[in-house]
């Protein structure tokens, strides 16, 4: 197994922490992992992206040009990363604020309206976990048990009372993700 993922969106959407939770879940599952942020001017409101690799083997380059999966959370990221998905790969996106929907016919496309769902759950911060749930439903690279273990490891202990809320958000994501196109 070797899964190369780019997660991209606005700063403040929880892009980097979603990547970290996914990577920690991989560690819990005994995989090799890497988490490589694009950092610098990407503060709140700017664009932020992170490359996460989960693999059964030693990971070579943590920086890539093509990905198995793109998780796209705003229009700028759609413009930048839609074309970087390998043919036959996966694109998962949140439809909120997307003005130009993905057009490729050689990849699998799924939509998870996490922003809308997060506001229904009255917790904007669950947004990234809803997206994660949607992705894991389509591609269960790590078990739910290991995701929860990874979440526990990546959250400081003072935030552990939020674990049930995050678990509910991940579950909600698995329920609301919908197929747009498959190859």
């Amino acid at each position: 197994m070797n899964e190369e993922i780019i997660i991209a969106g606005f700063g403040g959407q929880g892009v980097l922490s979603m990547g970290k939770i996914l990577a920690y879940s991989g560690v819990m599952q005994g995989m090799e992992v890497s988490w490589m942020p694009s950092y610098g001017p990407e503060m709140r409101g700017g664009t932020a992206n992170v490359t996460v690799i989960l693999s059964d083997n030693r990971i070579s380059s943590p920086i890539l040009r093509k990905y198995d999966t793109a998780i796209i959370l705003n229009q700028q990221s759609m413009d930048k990363f839609e074309q970087t998905v390998k043919p036959g790969g996966l694109l998962v996106y949140d439809g909120n604020g997307i003005t130009r929907h993905p057009e490729r016919d050689d990849i699998n496309i799924y939509r998870v309206d996490a922003a809308e769902e997060a506001s229904k759950m009255q917790s904007a911060k669950t947004f990234n976990m809803i997206v994660l749930g949607g992705y894991l439903k389509i591609n269960p690279v790590v078990t739910m048990e290991n995701v929860m273990n990874g979440l526990k490891k990546s959250l400081p202990e003072r935030h552990h009372h939020l674990l049930p809320l995050n678990e509910a958000a991940i579950k909600r994501g698995t329920e609301i993700v919908k197929e747009i196109a498959t190859v």
Partner: protein, 360 residues
Amino acid sequence: MSELRLMKGNEAIAEAAIRYGVDGYFGYPITPQSEVMETLMELRPWETTGMVVLQAESEIASINMMYGGAGCGKKVMTSSSSPGISLMQEGLSYLAGAELPCVVVNVVRGGPGLGTIQPAQSDYSQAVNGGGHGDYNLIVLAPSSVQEMADFVELAFELAFKYRNPALILSDGMIGQMMEKVELKAQKDRMSDQELAEKYPWATTGKPSSRERNIITSVELDPYAFERFNHKVQAKYKQMHKEDVRFEQFQCEDAEYLLVAYGSSARICQKSVQLLREKGIKAGLLRPITLFPFPGVELDKLAGQVKGMLAVELSAGQLVRDVRLAVNGKVPVEHFGRMGGVIHSPEEVVEALEKNFLKG
């Protein structure tokens, strides 16, 4: 007990320093390495192991605090990034001149000048050629993973004390900022003062009646005596080349073309080797782990086997000079690298190798 964690390279350095039993860290913040001191401050080792963590007023102050601590035989370290490391050069020359062991971490960012906070490898020449004034070298280790960031803290101290010479961990913003799985070693005790006095008889630990006074200095005004001292220092560097060259080979057995890269660039090049092999091009990678002492002998051996070498680094061409010196014209040696904080992709390296050796 060892422990498995997901960490940034910078955080791993801090954790490893505490666990190895380092006595003191003296630093000054600069991106992209500030997590080293941030992590140390958060972990508060002064309450557990007794390790001192001190934010100095500048990099110049940090390196001179290192001189004081190292003179007492203590395990001291600092970390900074390129502009900060430049400020430390006078102190590093003095540490080498006084034959003092210490560990310095450079999480390199793009230069020259204040430059950028993005990753680069453009401090290679400064690192492997001493960096300050005088005939001296630093022991230079180049980690290419978060695990090695942790492991090389111990290795750097072992080598620094073996040779009584400063050691430099030459990392960059990419390895410093990325997260990977890392196995942290169990906590070791810091060395007691008595143990230290026995193990390092040169250290200024207080003069017993049994020996002469220990003097830590880098000044010697008698030219003949100072020439003898310089010969002694040079002999250490020869010994390093005999005993402590470290490198890693990746698919070199049947390689016809060799990539030479260290640190973050070596990670990218591993992928390039895979891509080249998928295209039917027999490529291999030699990754120097010690940049000083440099694995020149190994490169010279491979020069008899391959048709060409490509030095790949995030700089205008610094490592490539050491590769050329090592193979001494036996095979063509070319250079590829991005600059200013731009990181090359594995595919760009493939294109560079094809362009240099396989087309026209």
